[in-house]
Symmetry: C2
Subunit: 297 residues, 2 copies
């Protein structure tokens, strides 16, 4: 696991260095807004999505700095989604990554705006043709389009909406899979896609990467559901057993805890199988898949 | 004025036709979310920003369908900003365009998500390289980057944040101009920029268009402030005298009503002067400038 830990560490360093230069205090009227954006962006977290971008890109090249704008953009977008999900009108969570949620620290109005600003910032970073490295325009357009699809009403937001709308109703398998596929897997799929197109993957390779991302993303969310039941608040850095208390549509609620674990295993096996065409070039993606299954937070 | 009214009418028809095909009901789990997005997008409104995209593009070409994705994207983004501005934690407005605000009609959680989804949709539309017309990738990248800058923390969201943060404080000229420049003018400037780059404007022409957009945008917001005081709720389609009641930083609050009118005149004159290099090709942009000054709602 040493190898994967240093890979995560290096991914995080690249992304945080980029962000530190990007999210700067620009004027006295908006300094507090900038502070709120930085608060959530630098709150730690696994940085799983950037690591997936880098690991996917790593199949084709080890010039990792090249893909840092994409790795950063997807992490910034993920951060916005956490800020908005935690809002009182949404999941009403007052704790995130072991700290007060953004709206607890800065108030609700500012948290809404910080989320909006980070969502917009993701597209700003992705399309910034004025800085090095000079990713070709056709790759940038594909990246923006895919990120917008993955994050929007046909992806993550659709899943989050279905999740909230389903609260209190009897969870059924089809609905739970819809939620997980969109709320979580869409963005994880997007991460490996971004690494692939930046690396110059062909259509067949892109298909296999997308398949990996989809199944790894489903496994990730099933494990998330399981940890919400089995983990402590301290280990997880956020409130636990929220899902049960708010009658969320989760895999354990549909399949029981044991059945959910089996589902996660099935998904991760499908994910890993999708990588066979890459041989040992995909070892880091396989390690991340293993990490997704074994994580405790 | 007949000419400009039919221009607005045609702009609106193009954008609404595009949107009707784009915002489709995709599945049973998110139909209600789609309904909420359509509710605000089809609530009427002046469609000023699309008209500005078309009028700016019209300096260079009359093949208006070409630029419809950009005109639509900016209107969709504008709509998201209205939904989020109206939220209880923000301006707390229960009426918009003569109808209940989105969160009154669909609840707060859904309104937040509908706003997020429309913001994301703007970038999806702008980057969609899979549909005709086939706008070149380098133009798309520039368009996405400019829209993200204009709409984000360095533009519209920054202005909206400063606006909320300034409530109840003594308004001073520098702050009010910062708010108006960012909250409103940035997106209007972006609209004419988008028309320009799609039309193939050179750097000098882009500079003049940006100057027009900036000053026309400032004039637009000053007139907005004035109408909030002098108009009736019925004419305006939203609650009036909200600014005074919540001690907003407005031009009338700094310069008095008469002084604000003079400021608007100065701004619009500067805007129109920026268009001189285009001769009568810019007649429609000039008509829109006149419309901005004379509008009653």
């Amino acid at each position: 696991m040493n190898n994967i830990l240093s890979f995560f560490q290096e991914s995080t360093e690249r992304v945080e260095k980029f962000l530190d230069n990007r999210l700067v205090y620009s004027n006295v009227y908006t300094d507090k807004l900038t502070e709120g954006m930085r608060y959530s962006v630098f709150a730690g977290g696994k940085r799983l999505r950037p690591a997936l971008v880098y690991a996917s890109y790593g199949i084709f090249s080890d010039n990792y700095d090249y893909v840092t704008p994409f790795a950063t953009a997807i992490e910034v977008l993920h951060t916005y989604s956490l800020i908005h999900d935690d809002l009182p009108a949404m999941d009403n969570d007052n704790m995130r990554r072991g700290k007060p949620s953004n709206h607890i620290a800065f108030g609700e109005a500012q948290a809404i705006l910080a989320g909006d600003a980070l969502l917009t910032k993701a597209f700003e970073i992705m399309s910034d043709y004025t800085i090095a490295p000079n990713i070709p325009d056709n790759i940038r357009v594909k990246a923006v389009y895919k990120l917008a699809l993955a994050a929007g009403d046909l992806g993550m937001i659709g899943g989050q909406y279905a999740d909230i709308a389903a609260e209190g109703r009897k969870p059924v398998a089809e609905l739970v899979k819809f939620i997980h596929k969109n709320k979580t897997a869409a963005l994880i799929e997007c991460a490996v896609y971004l690494g692939g197109i930046a690396g110059g993957a062909n259509d067949k390779q892109i298909d296999q990467l997308i398949s990996f991302g989809k199944y790894a993303g489903l496994a990730f969310q099933v494990i998330d559901d399981i940890l919400d039941i089995t983990s402590s608040s301290e280990t997880l850095g956020k409130n636990v057993q929220k899902d049960i208390n708010s009658h969320k549509a989760t895999y354990p609620a549909v399949y029981s805890l044991e059945g959910a674990k089996q589902k996660a295993e099935q998904y991760i096996n499908k994910a890993c199988k999708s990588l066979e065409i890459f041989g040992d070039k995909a070892d880091m993606l396989l390690s991340i898949a293993k990490f997704i299954m074994e994580r405790k937070s």
